[in-house]
């Protein structure tokens, strides 16, 4: 059992670190919540499974400066760690990575949508199905039906970097060339249709900045231009222009840096598919520079370097 192996590793690691970050059960049976373990007796509360949706690696930059942190990462989350190392944002010596091969998580929103947003009393998993119990009875849902978009094209079920691995590696079984199919499909729409789509989606934004704060690669955080009065690039207005501006700034700051964890989409309370904007830019970065963020620990992000003659940028040929 992965969970037993995981607890064993955590017990082993705990004496040498300040905190181990994993998952435990949240306020109801459907929600897991990040769990900061400091004492051996807490290890038993650890959980692992399709409810463990959060990208826990995102806590690292603020903590590894002066503490030693162990963190549980899924395959997708491990790209965050690699990207932090590429960008020199974490102290590797203060980081212990407990990798966990993952065969997919759920989207809490998709499960709740299928159940009319009722409190969940119990969830049990069995292979590719989960059974959810509410006061109205049981409902079985197939994992593929309620999985987040990122799982549907997952290329990295096994972490790309780890110090300990809790479980046997899992090989990817989704075609690599289909990762950006949704973007290509969207691009078939006319400019007017795409504009209308984003105008409608972004109109719901409440500027709560959950997408920004959950984003592992949004490193300005407290100094974000969206709230700054000096420089005063954005007003505090809630109109379409300002919302679009904010989301474009977010996306452009992530060009060649977005590790596709889709936390921004997951956390949006008003269900804006914000990750889609970043995915489009990632597709361009892959085509232009042959670069995918967070895949190799030794890679250099294209925006961190400069070549006089870029192979695929014709305008630069003098």
């Amino acid at each position: 059992m992965t969970i037993e192996r995981l607890k064993e590793i955590v017990h082993k690691v705990l004496p040498d670190v300040d905190v181990v970050i994993g998952y435990r059960q949240g306020f109801d049976a459907l929600h897991a919540t990040p769990f900061f373990i400091t004492k051996p007796e807490e290890v038993d509360e650890l959980i692992w499974g399709p409810l463990c949706v959060h990208n826990l690696a995102a806590y690292l930059p603020s903590l590894t400066k002066n503490k030693k942190i162990a963190v549980i990462v899924k395959g997708c989350d491990s790209r965050t760690v690699n990207q932090y190392l590429q960008e020199n944002l974490i102290n590797r010596e203060n980081t212990v990575i407990i990798g966990i091969p993952c065969s997919g998580v759920i989207s809490v929103k998709k499960v709740l949508k299928g159940l009319g947003d009722q409190p969940i009393e119990a969830v049990s998993g069995d292979g590719d199905k989960i059974t959810v119990t509410t006061s109205q009875g049981d409902k079985a849902l197939s994992l593929s039906e309620v999985s987040p978009d990122k799982c549907r094209t997952c290329q990295y079920p096994t972490p790309l970097i780890y110090d300990h691995l809790a479980g046997d590696p899992i090989s990817p079984d989704k075609p690599a060339e289909s990762v950006y199919d949704d973007v290509r499909e969207f691009e078939k729409l006319s400019l007017g249709e795409r504009w209308h789509y984003w105008e409608t989606e972004l109109s719901r934004c409440i500027r709560c900045y959950a997408c920004r704060n959950a984003c592992p690669m949004c490193i300005c955080q407290d100094k974000c231009i969206a709230e700054s009065r000096d420089p005063h690039w954005m007003t505090q207005r809630l109109n379409g222009t300002e919302k679009l501006m904010y989301h474009m700034i977010h996306a452009l700051h992530l060009a060649g840096r977005c590790v596709e964890c889709e936390e921004c989409t997951r956390v949006c309370p008003v269900e804006i598919p914000v990750a889609k904007i970043k995915k489009k830019i990632n597709m361009e970065m892959a085509e232009l520079f042959g670069y995918k963020a967070g895949v190799g620990v030794e890679d250099t992000p294209p925006m961190f370097t400069f070549k006089v003659d870029e192979e695929k940028i014709e305008e630069h040929e003098l």
Binding site: D28, A210, E227, L238, V270
Partner: protein, 353 residues
Amino acid sequence: MAKLGYLPKEKLTALLEALSKEQRLFVPCQAGDAVLFQQYDATKTPCLDRPATTPPKGIIFPQDDTLFTFTYHKDAEDLKKVSVELKENLDVAPTIIFGARPCDAKGFLIYDRPYTETDTPDPYYKKRRDMTAIMTLACPAPSPGCFCTSVGGDPADKDGSDVLITQLESGYLFESITEKGETILQNSLFEEGSSYQEQAQRTHEAVAELVRKPFQVTEELTQKVLSLFENDSFWEEEANKCISCGACTYLCPTCYCFNITDEQAGSSGERIRTWDACMFYHFTLEASGHNPRALKHQRLKNRVGHKFSYYPQKYDGAIACCGCGRCVRYCPVSVDISEIVAHAQEYTNDHGE
């Protein structure tokens, strides 16, 4: 005596249409996969099955409100002389909020104490509040994370509403609570409703049973939360997973803090009031550069403390949380305010105090 009216389900659209002709009518509507209060017209898809993602507070206290516009005029004779012209912006139309939940309606009662029940009432809030009627839908089921019965509420609470609506098998029972509500129930679409009252009562009781009760408000609660004020390790532990975004505050029916900024271009501009959130670093950032709440646990302490200690101390023990559960349900990392309060209640230090 409360007026009772029954409306068969198939007449709901007709009612919404009739109400929207007389005044601005806001109804929870499907918006993408979210449910938002939107001004009703025939193109909208009302959704009463679940509480709206965002509370209706923005209808009375807009997230983005122009308080006044200003223009600077230079004196043609003496360019050093500048006068400023102000134009207030207080146009408010009669409004109905249809399909709020009891916790949403209660949120406005919590707003009222600082905004209207003072020597210096807020004219913008007060005018909208006075001109708005609230038609509340008794919750047909609890929602994930909600806990109204822990903070003195009830899924069929009438406090703060003008009309209480109960969803029955093939229709709705409407009960007037205030004069405003009675006027609304004069509409000819309503049938006599008194025979449905018992059925509604049974529904209310059944739903109340299903609401989770993570803690109970006691007389000591306010003091207990306050006694932890300087206990950094308690708050650090509660806040360690918090990512310091504003989802909890912006979705909260009772969070009422705001920011004021002048948005100026050239010689004219607008003074706007926008929601602010104590979860943000900038919230208490002072001009000197000092920030009394520079760390996230200090900010989370403020949010919990305000609702369960500072506000009740100021206003006769009233808790500033209506238990809607939105902050729990939509928190990116499932920070649960009810759990924090329960932890505070249970807390004993090394001396057993």
